[in-house]
Amino acid sequence: MHALRPRRERPADADTPQAVRGGRGRRRVAIATVQVALLVGGLGLWQALASSHSIDVSFYGDPVGTWRQLLDWIHHGTTEGPLWQQLWVTLQETFFGFAIGVVLGVTCGIVLGRVKLLSEILAIYIGAFNSIPRLVLGSIFIIWFGLGMPSKIALAVLLVFFNVFFNAFQGAREVDHGLIANARLLGASRLAVLFHVVVPSAFSWLIASLRVAFGLAITGSVVGELLGAQQGLGTLIAQAQGYFNPDGVYAGLVVTTIVALGAEGAITLAEHRLLRWRPPRQTLEPET
């Protein structure tokens, strides 16, 4: 997309001296160095405290133990089967939960955002439903759907749905009236207005919420597994907890975190693709 570099409104680009660019690169290296130092320092301190018996390893675990646990899972598999199989189960639950939750949330959000009467009728129920501590419903889903994947998917859907729903709802309501009027005058049918104006406009709200939503999908599936399952990363964590093995809990968390980071990368790519019509903004994230 950099072939389409804005020609104007990027004064920094017009007269970028090499020095500035070089400065920026050096800055990035410096930041990365500090970031790595913080990680190493934190883990090192923890390990030092554990090795010197300042903290009780059997309660708090330590990085080396966690690493060993991970290697053990990778080489010898877990009590529930190979690690990749557990990962695959959790990934599937997360993916289906995310996909179903997003589709439902976007659809309901846009419909209610556009049909005022419907939103007035349903607002009270949505508000009430939203204030239920939703993770608790995981228990009921296990009763309804059993120990397999469907109960975890249901929990993930529930978490994702509300997050996406409110953003889509807001997005559909905040659509520029001028744009809708323009589309109608250009000859757009109601359906065309929906797909050419309302949906793209709502998407700019939605995309930001998708990262959070994916995090919630992982939460839903892992917590669902903690509540009761035979497979999955949450099961590994629950097992480790049962065996009083803090390193096992950490190892489960590490794998979950890697999944979440990977997904975040994928969503960022999708965001760049879908929102390339928006002017580049200053963000806290490093430029890619």
């Binding site: 104007r8 323009n182 109608r184 049918s189 700019s204 002017p279």
Partner: protein
């Protein structure tokens, strides 16, 4: 219509008049103000636009000029009176009408090409054909080479060109323009006005444009209609008998231009002062 009886009024009786393409007949519009009381924005507006004529509505800020356009476009219903296009009452948006908005109403998520092709696509033209047509229009408004840019990457003037092409590609018989060049600097405005005149002379559409810039109004129009400060009604119509084709920049130096400017300004200035006094004294 009493406003057309003055010596400098429009509709000279030399020619048999063709039937008006657009007729606004005794239209009023009342809104409910936030305090619950009804407020009359437009009061008994009557005006006609002949086929292929360029008519400009001018009046003080906030007098309801834009509402007139919205009603003709079928976006707002009049409280009273009727709006006729080709003798048929307007009900909802009409394919013969094009509207260029004051603000940028281009779709920010579509490329320049996608924006211009939107109208034909909405009206059922196949994708490839619509793109061809859009390319042709982009060439006409001087935006060749910018097909794949997004609106945010363009300057204000370029976005206006996109909006113009987007509207004209549908071949409207009536082109409604609501201060289309507001927000542009004076030079760009002049260039855009000239280009608009050029395109309009080729197309032969009727134009009804709203502005509060009197020089722009006289330079462009066949007829200038002065509206009163709210509630707006037609105060007077002026025929602009400057020769065409005109150059927006040069026409200002003609003695007749200066004369018209004097006449219309003396009519308009009372309304402007009235609107200004109201805006500054009432809360």
């Amino acid at each position: 219509m009493e406003s057309s009886t003055g010596p400098e009024a429009a509709s000279p009786d030399r020619l048999p008049k063709p039937p008006p393409l657009l007729e606004v007949r005794g239209v009023s519009k009342r809104f409910r103000a936030p305090d619950g009381r009804a407020r009359t924005a437009l009061d008994d507006i009557t005006l006609t636009v002949q086929p292929g004529r360029f008519c400009v509505l001018i009046g003080p800020t906030g007098c309801g000029k834009s509402t007139v356009l919205s009603m003709i476009a079928g976006l707002v219903r009049p409280s009273e009176g009727a709006i006729l296009i080709d003798g048929q009452p307007v009900s909802g948006t009409d394919p013969r009408t094009g509207f260029m908005f004051q603000s940028d109403a281009v779709f920010p998520w579509k490329t320049v090409l996608g924006n211009v092709a939107a109208g034909p696509r909405f009206r059922g033209t196949p994708r490839r054909e619509a793109a061809e047509l859009a390319r042709d229009w982009l060439r006409r408004v001087g935006l060749s080479g910018f097909e794949h840019y997004y609106p945010y990457q363009l300057s204000g003037g370029m976005r206006k060109r996109v909006a113009l092409a987007q509207t004209l590609i549908n071949g409207p018989q009536i082109l409604l323009m609501d201060e289309p060049f507001s927000g542009l600097d004076a030079q760009t405005r002049q260039i855009m006005s000239d280009e608009l005149l050029g395109l309009w002379e080729q197309l032969g559409a009727s134009v009804l444009m709203v502005t509060h810039d009197l020089e722009e109004a006289i330079a462009l129009a066949d007829t200038v209609v002065v509206l009163t400060a709210g509630p707006a009604t037609v105060k007077k119509e002026f025929a602009v008998d400057l020769p065409r084709p005109r150059s927006v920049r040069e026409v200002r130096f003609q003695p007749r231009f200066v004369e018209l400017h004097e006449q219309i300004w003396s009519c308009l200035s009372e309304e402007v002062s009235l609107a200004y006094a109201r805006a500054t004294t009432s809360p």
